[in-house]
Symmetry: C4
Subunit: 259 residues, 4 copies
Amino acid sequence: MTEADHRRNDARLQEWRNRTIVPMVAAASVFLAAYAWPIIDPDLPAVWEGVCSAALVVVWALFCADYVVRLWLAPQRVAFVRRNWFDLLVLLVPVLRTLRLVQVIVVLGLVNKRATMTMRASVSKYSVAAALLIVFCAALAVLDAERGVPGAVIHTFPDALWWAATTVTTVGYGDLYPVTAEGRLVAGVLFTAGIALLGVVTATLASWFVEKFNEGQESAAATQKQMVELMEEVRSLRAELAARTAPAEPAAEEADPGR
Amino acid sequence: MTEADHRRNDARLQEWRNRTIVPMVAAASVFLAAYAWPIIDPDLPAVWEGVCSAALVVVWALFCADYVVRLWLAPQRVAFVRRNWFDLLVLLVPVLRTLRLVQVIVVLGLVNKRATMTMRASVSKYSVAAALLIVFCAALAVLDAERGVPGAVIHTFPDALWWAATTVTTVGYGDLYPVTAEGRLVAGVLFTAGIALLGVVTATLASWFVEKFNEGQESAAATQKQMVELMEEVRSLRAELAARTAPAEPAAEEADPGR
Amino acid sequence: MTEADHRRNDARLQEWRNRTIVPMVAAASVFLAAYAWPIIDPDLPAVWEGVCSAALVVVWALFCADYVVRLWLAPQRVAFVRRNWFDLLVLLVPVLRTLRLVQVIVVLGLVNKRATMTMRASVSKYSVAAALLIVFCAALAVLDAERGVPGAVIHTFPDALWWAATTVTTVGYGDLYPVTAEGRLVAGVLFTAGIALLGVVTATLASWFVEKFNEGQESAAATQKQMVELMEEVRSLRAELAARTAPAEPAAEEADPGR
Amino acid sequence: MTEADHRRNDARLQEWRNRTIVPMVAAASVFLAAYAWPIIDPDLPAVWEGVCSAALVVVWALFCADYVVRLWLAPQRVAFVRRNWFDLLVLLVPVLRTLRLVQVIVVLGLVNKRATMTMRASVSKYSVAAALLIVFCAALAVLDAERGVPGAVIHTFPDALWWAATTVTTVGYGDLYPVTAEGRLVAGVLFTAGIALLGVVTATLASWFVEKFNEGQESAAATQKQMVELMEEVRSLRAELAARTAPAEPAAEEADPGR
């Protein structure tokens, strides 16, 4: 495979991504709804429960297809698999429903990816959105795992939401807590999300305060502007000097290559 | 509506804000007192309770009036509503007493707004004040929501304050916790405030340490000063050159426009 | 009082501080020991308990004397009282033993004050020391407040230490927690210390990473060095120009004042 | 001992370190396995338990030998002991098994030391790895300390892992908590690790955001580049000036030393 092919495929992979973002997010939303409904409303008629599970399977198939296509388009397949190990994990292990929900978030995340790289405001917005989504999904997943388990203390969706909120903020009252392995796995994801969230909030504020409060930052920017001015100043100084004395001396030409 | 109108209205909106800050803060304080008193002292004579509820209604009306005036003065009404969705939410949903208390805080916040943008010290002072106020209001709101509810564990104001303190710092012992939906909503506001507070404290320290400890910052400031000097140096250099050789050559004039 | 008096008094206040640091820290240590011993060892013979309380009174008197002297030396007395409100509070309200212990820490803090302002390492060392001391004092204070109270869960010093550690780190298991007002006041001080500690740790790391990782910082420092070089370059350029053309033209002299 | 000896020994110490990293990490892994196995599987045949304890002793001996060699190679022995007090503590006090496990982590840490100093990504990777390892070791240690103790609530390895996770993230539900002194000591290490971890996560993000978002940083870098350009510009300006006027005047030569 030549270097040119690599570049072309990379471009095609990118193009595929851009085209599939909207449908993927749509599919993810369907997935979320189909996952949430039976959990929130336990006495859902069997018919609708069937519809939901069907929807889950379909969306899952879509995600798989998307993965396969991206793998096929990827310039270096091995590198692609290593870089996207998380996608694969979530797709192959059907037990990890909770992680598949995180996958949903990742997909939604893709949308803002580029934005987050450029502006502080969008980082904040994206983090808040992600946090809310993670809390909601975690509440669903933990309820799904704990409900009806003997010794479990989380039995209703409001309780699950409350637990998720106390967990992601690392408050952890301990009035509610998961007792099953799945529930604790979900909690683990929530802890991590919580620490990351705390980090993003603080870091965004810090970078903002550094810009607002630290002289160094302002003067650096000011210096930058003056630098351009000064450059012109010096250049035109040379221009004048040349204009004045060039005709008189060929020495100037000899000096030129030295520049 | 012309551009000029826009600018004039914007100025009028600003002026209105500046003029109303003092009365608004006064109204907010009355609101706080009228809200706090009946909660802290449960066996308050019915007469006084009536007075308090009346005061709450009056202040609420004032807030509404203020909102309407600002909306009317706003250059772009739609943008104004979108930007101030929180004010509207707090005004329209009378159930959200707790959020109206947060609104009180926001109003108080307006006072320091400009200050906070300029100095580190005022950011800290403002955050501490806001944190204390939020803790106090949250304690009131949670007590109001939990007291007398079967299964609730928060029954006295000292307990409510203690709970609020353990919550805003994300310690969350779990000896006390809300069980009602309203109480948990208040807790949610407290969590968020707690994370924000932690972020502000850390970020303020970070920006301060960066300034104090990092060479880059100092040299940037120093460079800035020298830059000005250098600029003069070069300019007077040109001046001299001109002074010496200008009379001899018209070439200088031709060079001028090139600058 | 003239400006000169002000300056002289300020100098004398500073000198007093420098001279009294060592004895004050010694007194504080005595205070800490005399406070800790009867609490850690409940069945201490009455004689020794008497000695300890006597020591506490003596040290308290010393602190008062120190405050009075400093007040007397202060250039502006009112400003001094306002600036040192915390010292006064701790001295005047004999109930607030816990805060007097925090006062001990403040005194110890004075020692490193100057150091902390200059280096990152000393900030870290000072914070760690302060944190350990606060945890130790808080454990003593909470045990003193809770022991023997009906319904209290903290009865032994190891338990108190464990509680203090879980609190200052904002973990807050909730297996142990204060139930008395004094105990909760101590906890409040610990929360605050915990958040501050977290902030200092993170901020120190952040300022260090910013220096280590961010190009901006290095280039700012590098620019600073080159700036000096460039300045010389330009100056000697002017020198040469002058050297070459000065004798010929008086115009140079006229240009001088313009610089 | 001459300066030259010092330098030679320092080099030899470094060389020893580089050579022993791989075997030390291997030994540490064996240690970890031999420590973990009997704890995770309580009904391990006595034979294997014996093998494990033997392995622990052997590895411990290796660590001691390594320490002695490094001490012997160190240029200043006293300084070496003071700088490596932690290693010594962990080696000499055989009770502190938990700390010896932390020592394992320190050894593993050595591998990335140099990397961490240079890149943000490696700091993150190293911290995550360290965090996971600390959580795993802490779970082992706490289980070892608590299992079979009357009144203890941590009896199985999954519970211990869950407890460690809730602790390192400072969530601290309080459904599980250590009751023995050893268990609480382990918890103390975990708290500290948790705060440090939180600090590293936030600080890394902060330094990254400062670089990405703050104008000051970019302009400082940009200025740096232009500075070099400008320098050349001015130098060649001098060159020209010299080239033009040097032959005419000996004054130039006199001016030279002044540069």
